[in-house]
């Protein structure tokens, strides 16, 4: 039909529906980073001495580091003194809170994002922790979870309420010495989610954190820690959005997962940070360190990510397979359009015997975008019988984008079995024409082919997330074919 084009244009304009800004009174620190700022943040959050000291050690270490530039991404230098490291809605920053006391404008923000927080309307089967700039707005379903002994709350609250538990695990999977952005995060992290599943408990609902960057010229540095005790299970979901702005904003998060004997963690991300406009102006720099450790025997950590947002994505959700027979999985779809850049992948570190890992990565590139898979599979000398299967597929739409893969395999045990498969393909004109001849539009054809390409990953997502992910893939590719 002749209005296809108009509709398509309309869809391009509508492309990022979460780009609005919530006008709300905030409390913040002046821009820039110093020991004083870190002390201020720590005091403001009522933290114990050991944490303040830990932050300062991280900061001093960070000062000795240089920003890494080995990733296949390009961006102008970041002025770390121009970033505001703590911004909180005034109503949240001061005084105690329950969801009833939260500023209605904040609740409205989450309603607009499709994440209702009020008890009457909360999403069935999902408990949500909502993080707005530097602080948590509130957590739903808390009481129901507490009855099972499950702790799910903002990490700032966990530091106050469960200091021993936090202290035992914080920084054990991602030490502040790990890398530049992890050191920065350790120094300035303001909030994030904490979750603890007690022995033998299978968490009956999906736990979810929704990250929202609202304030301008601020960064978001959240820290998430999930510990699943022996025989426990949790499925955790993470979603992210930000307003549309012409300048870039930094998001440098750290996520640590710990699975004890027979524990299982399924961690799913749908990352939809503002990607910048069609000319590549603005967007979030998503520089994130995510790592899980299978500490116990027969434990399992599974990462699933659908990455469609951000101007630049730099993240490698990884698994350290320490316990014998432990299992690590990484399922990823990374979509880059216009001028987006993604350098993403995983590390599977096999330390224990009979450890197994699976990596399935699907990169989709359109427009002028660059999409890189970077991965490491390391088999330690004692990892008898370790196995890895890796598959990296790249799909190109158009002829001005790029796909790159940098897989590294290091095996120090001759009993290990490692398989690696990789393909790069283009959506062919023949495929599109075949669909057109059956009555489908070009956009429908591309959507079908892309969803088909990502099928194995989408299947790994919890159902309600899978539906959202499919829609997101369709919307983010609107207008990428001409």
């Amino acid at each position: 039909m002749n209005d296809d084009r108009d509709t398509l244009q309309g869809l391009i304009r509508r492309q990022y529906p979460y780009g609005f800004y919530t006008d709300i009174e905030t409390e913040s620190v002046p821009p820039g980073l110093s020991e004083d700022i870190i002390r201020y943040i720590s005091t403001r959050k009522g933290e114990p001495e050991w944490l303040t000291e830990w932050r300062l050690r991280a900061y001093r270490y960070w000062l000795t580091l240089r920003e890494p530039h080995w990733a296949n991404v390009k961006y102008p230098p970041i002025d770390y003194q121009a970033i505001t490291y703590y911004v909180a809605p005034r109503s949240i920053a001061q005084g105690p809170r329950s969801l009833d006391e939260v500023d209605p404008r904040l609740l409205e923000t989450y309603n607009k994002l499709g994440i209702p927080l009020h008890e009457q309307q909360i999403l069935a089967g999902v408990a949500v922790d909502a993080i707005f700039d530097s602080v948590s707005v509130g957590t739903t379903l808390k009481e129901q979870l507490e009855k099972l002994g499950i702790i799910f709350c903002p990490i700032s609250e966990a530091i106050r309420e469960y200091p021993d538990l936090v202290r035992k695990y914080l920084g054990t999977v991602v030490p502040y010495t790990d890398n530049f952005f992890a050191a920065l995060n350790s120094a300035v992290f303001t909030d994030g989610s904490f979750c603890y599943i007690p022995p033998g408990v299978r968490c009956p609902v999906d736990l979810s954190t929704y990250f929202r960057i609202n304030a301008a010229r601020s960064g978001q540095f959240e820290r998430t820690l999930i510990v699943v005790d022996e025989g426990g299970y949790v499925s955790y979901l993470e979603g992210c959005t930000a307003p549309m702005r012409d300048e870039n904003q930094l998001h440098a998060a750290v996520v640590e997962l710990v699975a004890l004997d027979n524990a299982q963690i399924k961690y799913s991300t749908v990352q939809n940070w503002y990607p910048g406009d069609e000319q590549g102006r603005g967007g979030i720099y998503n520089f994130v360190t995510k790592r899980g450790i299978c500490l116990g025997r027969n434990s399992k950590i599974s990462w699933t990510q659908v990455e469609v947002g951000s101007a630049i994505t730099w993240k490698y959700p990884s698994c350290i397979l320490k316990g014998d027979n432990s299992v690590g999985e990484f399922y990823s779809v990374a979509v880059t359009t216009h001028y987006q850049q993604a350098d993403t992948g995983t590390k599977m570190i096999h330390l224990g015997k009979n450890t197994r890992s699976t990596i399935i990565s699907k990169g989709i590139s359109a427009g002028f975008a660059q999409n890189t898979y970077r991965g490491l599979v390391r088999i330690a000398p004692n990892a008898e019988g370790a196995r890895n299967y890796t598959r990296c597929d790249s799909l190109l739409i158009g002829d001005k984008c790029g796909a790159h893969t940098f897989p590294v395999i290091e095996s120090a045990n001759e009993t290990a079995i490692i398989e690696h498969e990789a393909t790069t393909s283009k959506i062919s004109e023949d495929q599109v024409f075949y669909c057109l001849q059956r009555g489908l539009s070009v956009q429908d054809a591309v959507n079908l082919i892309v969803i088909g390409f990502c099928k194995e990953i989408i299947q790994e997502l919890p159902l309600e997330f899978a539906v959202e992910a499919k829609k997101l893939l369709e919307v983010s590719l609107e207008g990428s074919v001409g």
């Binding site: 024409f433 669909c435 059956r438 489908l440 390409f453």
Partner: protein, 259 residues
């Protein structure tokens, strides 16, 4: 031959000239097809048979130089490929492509619903669609496994051809063009394809079958046979023409000895 009084043609091709990559392939095709008819186009390799099919469905690699095509009263050449399909034009491709990961069911449902919307009909929900699909597959004596797999992925030549015919059965086009539905098939598969096509004959629609060999036509009984040589239809007749060609070879119509 029967009279066409009081009936409108499904397809009317007048003086169609077309080129691909700067080379003129069709030099003035004239062809009229009425509802209920089955036409066969035969011809030696390179005579323009597949080009004709590609031009009719709007393959962008082909350029129309001259002539007109009226499809159910509309100027076909003005329509985009997907609009032609929605209007009821279907091509069973000679080499159907694979769509990895795209399930045959969801693909075909998306296509059918697009066409139904165009015709002002309600879309079918997955349950309604699956029963329709099962019914069509059973009529074609087709194994249901094909429906669960990705479109043409890892299909044998025969499976691809039959998947095209299944799609034709589901989409119910006014005109189905079949580009060498017999190529690469053994005799058993060929008979099956022929009987499938025969079962899909309807008084309100038509089939245009492109084939190089007469053997498919022994099972299909076309109403008309046209022989295409160098981009022109040089002779038309009934099915006996196919037998004659088989006996005498294409040299009989091209004036060059058959190899």
């Amino acid at each position: 031959m029967e009279s066409h009084q009081n009936r409108y043609p499904i397809l009317e091709i007048r003086q169609l000239h077309a080129e691909v990559e700067g080379k003129t392939i069709l030099h003035g095709i004239n062809l009229t097809i009425y509802p209920g008819e089955v036409h066969a186009i035969m011809g030696p390799n390179g005579s323009g048979k597949s080009t004709l099919a590609s031009v009719l469905v709007g393959d962008p690699a082909y350029k129309v130089l001259k002539g007109e095509v009226i499809f159910c009263g509309r100027n076909l050449l003005e329509l985009k490929p997907e609009e032609r399909a929605r209007e009821g034009l279907f091509l069973a491709f000679q080499y159907p492509v694979e769509l990895p990961g795209v399930s045959t069911m969801s693909f075909l449902r998306a296509a059918l619903n697009q066409i139904r919307r165009h015709r002002g009909l309600d879309e079918l929900d997955p349950t309604e669609f699956i029963s329709l699909l099962r019914e069509k597959a059973a009529k074609l004596d087709l194994n249901e496994n094909i429906l669960k797999r990705s479109v043409n992925e890892g299909f044998s030549g025969g499976e691809r051809k039959r998947n095209e015919i299944l799609q034709m059965a589901v989409l119910e086009p006014k005109l189905a063009i079949l580009d060498e539905p017999d190529s690469g098939l053994d005799i058993d598969a060929l008979k099956l394809v022929a009987s499938n096509l025969a079962s899909l004959r309807r008084p309100d629609s038509a089939q245009l079958i492109i084939t190089h060999y007469q053997r498919l036509l022994s099972y299909i009984e076309p109403d008309y046979v046209h022989v295409l040589v160098d981009g022109r239809i040089v002779i038309s007749g009934d099915k006996s023409l196919a037998h004659e060609l088989e006996r005498k070879g294409y040299g009989w119509v091209t004036g060059t000895p058959s190899i």
